[in-house]
């Protein structure tokens, strides 16, 4: 069989489908993204209209998988462009020399905190995702719980065993909540004390950013610590969810684009990056995200706080990236060892 597979693969006459339709006339680029599957077609509409000669092949996976794939392919990169991946992941990729700095057209429209400050930035943001709580109103009422309004509320004894949260060791969303708590209390020690108290109430640390919110939506647990876009989306899907943006401010990260370093950088890749921060597509981003890197006139999506920028807690992305290994080791030592199910 091995011979057969190789034989087929070597035969140039193997059908186009086997080869993934290689060799079409259009210029084609491969785009790795962690944007949500159902949003991508809407975003791409204006690109397809303006650049009918560029074929865009999307590979969509969760942040962790896309990042792992990028790093594993380092020797012979397959992607031309990364679109909408956590800036913290792009910092890792840049650290390994996988990214080519590029200043896309219209860079001056991007807010300064949403891009790498270098002249040819390694990453340029498109929107920001922020932590939020999903509270299931029906289940909260059943269990006689009030709706928590702040991070501090979450440590109240009444919520014991009712809260699920993303595991920071396996999910970027979990990490941004943890990193934000550590940066926003008077000292890091206070941050850890807070996390100790929170841990007392946590029923489960889940291996995905969106799952706590999904679990809340299905009533598995009344409260899920997740992120804003997800919370608002589930409200709009008709689930009995209240999206809570904590009083003390939300942890946040930026979804950003980058050009992949390779021997032959395709012009179409740059065209795509220029388009990806254009006002037109930014308007589409703004329909789902409260905060976009390029200011738009789109009204705030339903369910977000009225002044979303104010909702952002203090956050140094570089600090969060540099200290990640240390923080996760400490986190695992404190909360991950005692893993008896409750």
């Amino acid at each position: 069989m091995g011979a057969a597979v190789i034989g087929t693969a070597l035969a140039p006459s193997a059908n186009a489908w086997w080869w993934g339709k290689k060799g079409s006339e259009k210029a084609s680029i491969t785009v790795y993204t962690a944007l949500e599957d159902d949003q991508i077609p809407n975003y791409l509409k204006s690109f397809e209209r303006d650049y009918p000669n560029i074929e865009v092949n999307i590979v969509r996976d969760s942040t962790g998988i896309v990042t792992a794939k990028l790093l594993a392919e380092a020797e012979n990169p397959q992607a031309d462009v990364v679109w909408g991946l956590a800036a913290s992941s792009l910092l890792v990729a840049n650290d390994r020399g996988l990214i080519q700095g590029y200043a896309p057209k219209g860079l001056s429209n991007v807010k300064p905190s949403f891009r790498d400050p270098a002249k040819k930035p390694s990453w340029v943001g498109i929107d920001s995702w922020i932590s939020a709580f999903c509270v299931n109103k029906i289940e909260a009422q059943k269990n006689g719980l009030s709706i928590p309004k702040s991070w501090a509320d979450l440590t109240k004894p009444e919520y014991k065993g009712h809260i699920v949260m993303s595991n920071p060791a396996s999910s970027g969303t979990g990490y941004l909540s943890v990193a934000s708590r550590l940066q926003n209390l008077p000292s890091e020690e206070d941050g850890w004390n807070y996390l100790d108290a929170l841990h007392e109430n946590i029923a489960q640390y889940m291996h995905s950013g969106s799952k706590p919110c999904k679990a809340a939506g299905k009533g598995e647990y009344p409260i899920g610590v997740s992120f804003g876009y997800r919370a608002v989306k589930q409200v709009n899907m008709g689930q009995p969810i209240e999206a809570v943006f904590p009083k003390e401010g939300s942890g946040w990260d930026v979804e950003a684009n980058a050009l992949i370093k390779k021997d032959k950088i395709k012009p179409a890749a740059k065209t795509f990056l220029d388009w990806a921060i254009s006002p037109e597509v930014s308007r589409e981003y703004a329909k789902s995200f409260a905060i976009t890197a390029v200011e738009t006139d789109v009204p705030l999506p339903k369910g977000f706080p009225s002044n979303p920028e104010k909702q952002l807690a203090k956050n140094d992305l570089q600090w969060a990236a540099v200290n990640r290994e240390r923080i996760l080791a400490e986190w695992a030592k404190r909360y991950d060892g005692k893993s008896a199910p409750k």
Partner: protein
């Protein structure tokens, strides 16, 4: 295969040697060599500096390791016990009793293997989760019962779903192998049923029993799909790898933990191999197949047992079908077929589904040929003993490699345009890199990922076929390939078809290796299920899962039909189910 008539013995042996070496090279390139770069990483930091055993020491010093390791062992031991027990009773019912509706139970025996793992989790949550049908007592109509799904219990149920069909496959082929004459002899000596069971049945199947212990243990020890979704805070080694590789992109540590994962697998292999030494072929060309007699009590107990198992499996599947039809579980239970359109799913519609079907067909065809031929060469011949042992050892390794590790290893190996020769400034083109980005890499990854169970199932069958055939052929100066084509293949056809359908259904549902490897232009449905669920679209994910289950069921029916016709023509004794 037809060379000019040449019954020259030395030519035969030369040809055999060449074939064995050829298979050895293939197995090395597809299993061992791709793993090397990743394993080398376990001795380096993430910047590729050599740091010796530091990763291993760091990991051991981490207090959660001991816990994860103990947890993994607990899961593996419990799962193995229940899976083999259930698999054994079910297999016994299918082969040694007059179970009513036997054909039905046979068709549905592997049903839980058709359900994508994520869908099993969705189904389990809908039944046993905090809002589950049973937990809430069918919307409060009867008293609810909470099994505490998240954690150890959930993992065990999920793993048994996944492992018991695998034990079943092996035990069915082992139990099929029997000699009526032994039972008749026992009867004339007035042996009690228990005594017959202990002295004839059990010794007869000890090889199959041992293998199913081995397979269930390793599968549940290394699987991360189930613990990831219903494991709660119950950490196991495989989720530790997930956290390192996907959560933190720490490949070096991920590789380190993978090596720890391999340890029990290698131990199990050694025990298994040692055990087999005492194994002699129990069935000779003169054996008469066992014909079960009617026994009302045994048959009814078996019927109830098999029904209970199927009710649970079909119950989980039904809740997946329901999930695909319901608007907002559990708050708005109105039904619609909307979710089967997949129009919102990144515009791919049905494309991933058809890609997956074709990928699974290719895997089934090429995989079956490769695996059977490998097993044949290893099992039936005497030359090159050491190399055959190595092929056997390599073939048992893939089961211990988590899909995620296999996927990453394949990227590292197959995406490498050339190899540099150590100490020389010289590059060799990597011909395998041509596969990367094609359907070929997906097919190959699947073939290797599921290789072990198929290989063991093929060897089990080949052991049943008396070596007399080869010996007689040799003395009659018939070249071995003629014996292979005219005797071995026809006799093994039921198993060959079984391997094909095993490859097919597993390729339909697999995620872990494929998610790293699928090319941009070949989206596959198991990945789109994950993406749909990620986007919160449980209903579409469930709809796609339903489609996959139905496809596998359809293939199983084709298999049943074909194997019925085949076994009529080929050996009667190899599959008494149909007698």
């Amino acid at each position: 295969m037809y060379f000019k008539k040449n019954s020259n013995k030395s030519f035969n042996i030369l040809l055999l040697r060449i074939l064995i070496i050829f298979v050895f090279i293939l197995v090395s390139f597809f299993i061992i060599i791709p793993l090397l770069p990743l394993f080398l990483k376990s001795f380096s930091d993430n910047k590729n500096n050599f740091i010796g055993l530091e990763n291993f020491i760091n990991y051991i010093q981490n207090p959660s390791l001991t816990q994860s390791f103990i947890n993994s062992l607990k899961v593996a031991i419990t799962t193995t016990f229940f899976s083999v027990l259930i698999g054994f009773i079910y297999a016994y019912a299918l082969t040694r009793t007059r179970l009513p509706l036997k054909k039905f139970f046979n068709t549905f025996s592997l049903f839980s293997l058709y359900i994508p793992p994520l869908a099993v989790a969705i189904g389990l949550i809908y039944i046993f989760g905090k809002q589950g049908l049973i937990t809430q007592g069918f919307f409060g109509t009867i008293p609810g019962f909470d099994i505490n799904l998240y954690g150890f219990n959930g993992i065990i149920i999920g793993e048994i779903f996944y492992c018991f069909p695998q034990a079943l496959i092996i035990l069915v082929s082992a139990l099929n192998l029997s000699d009526q004459r032994l039972y008749e002899a026992a009867e004339s000596l007035k042996a009690s049923p228990l005594r017959k069971f202990l002295t004839i049945t059990l010794p007869n199947i000890k090889y199959g029993l041992m293998n199913s212990f081995f397979i269930c243990f390793i599968l549940s020890f290394t699987d991360f799909g189930v613990p990831k979704v219903v494991g709660g805070n119950f950490n196991v080694l495989a989720t530790d790898i997930y956290k390192q590789v996907v959560g933190q992109q720490n490949f070096a540590m991920g590789a380190t933990i993978s090596i720890y994962l391999l340890v029990p697998s290698i131990l199990a292999f050694l025990i298994d191999k040692n055990f087999q030494k005492n194994e002699a072929s129990l069935i000779s060309g003169k054996s008469i197949p066992f014909k079960p007699r009617k026994n009302l009590i045994v048959d009814s107990i078996m019927f109830i047992f098999c029904s209970l198992i199927l009710i649970l499996v079909i119950g989980v599947f039904s809740s997946i079908v329901l999930a695909s039809l319901i608007k907002i579980w559990p708050y708005d239970i109105s039904l619609s077929l909307q979710n089967f359109r997949f129009s919102n799913v990144a515009g791919n519609g049905y494309e991933p589904y058809f890609n997956t079907v074709f990928m699974s067909i290719y895997t089934a065809i090429f995989g079956t040929i490769f695996v059977f031929f490998t097993a044949y060469l290893v099992e039936k011949f005497k030359p090159l003993k050491k190399i055959r042992m190595l092929i056997y050892f390599f073939s048992t390794l893939p089961i211990a490699i988590p899909g995620l590790v296999l996927g990453l290893s394949y990227i590292l190996f197959f995406n490498k345009p050339s190899f540099s020769v150590p100490f020389l400034d010289f590059q060799i083109f990597n011909p395998f890199s041509l596969l990367y980005g094609t359907m070929g890499i997906l097919v190959l990854a699947n073939i290797i990922h599921f290789f072990t169970v198929c290989f063991i199932s093929a060897t089990t069958t080949l052991k049943q076929i008396d070596k007399e055939f080869e010996e007689v052929s040799e003395s009659l100066k018939v070249p071995f390939y003629k014996t292979f084509l005219r005797i071995t293949i026809p006799l093994s056809l039921p198993t060959i078809l079984e391997i094909g359908s095993y490859y097919f259904v597993n390729s339909m549902i697999t995620v872990s290796a494929i998610i790293f490897l699928y090319p941009a232009k070949i989206p596959v449905s198991s990945v789109s299920i994950v993406n749909m669920d990620d986007a919160g679209d449980t209903a579409s994910a469930a709809a796609m899962s339903t489609l996959i289950v139905l496809t596998s069921l359809f293939v199983r029916l084709i298999y049943e039909f074909t194997s019925r016709n085949v076994s009529k023509k080929s050996s009667v004794w190899i599959n008494p189910l149909e007698t």
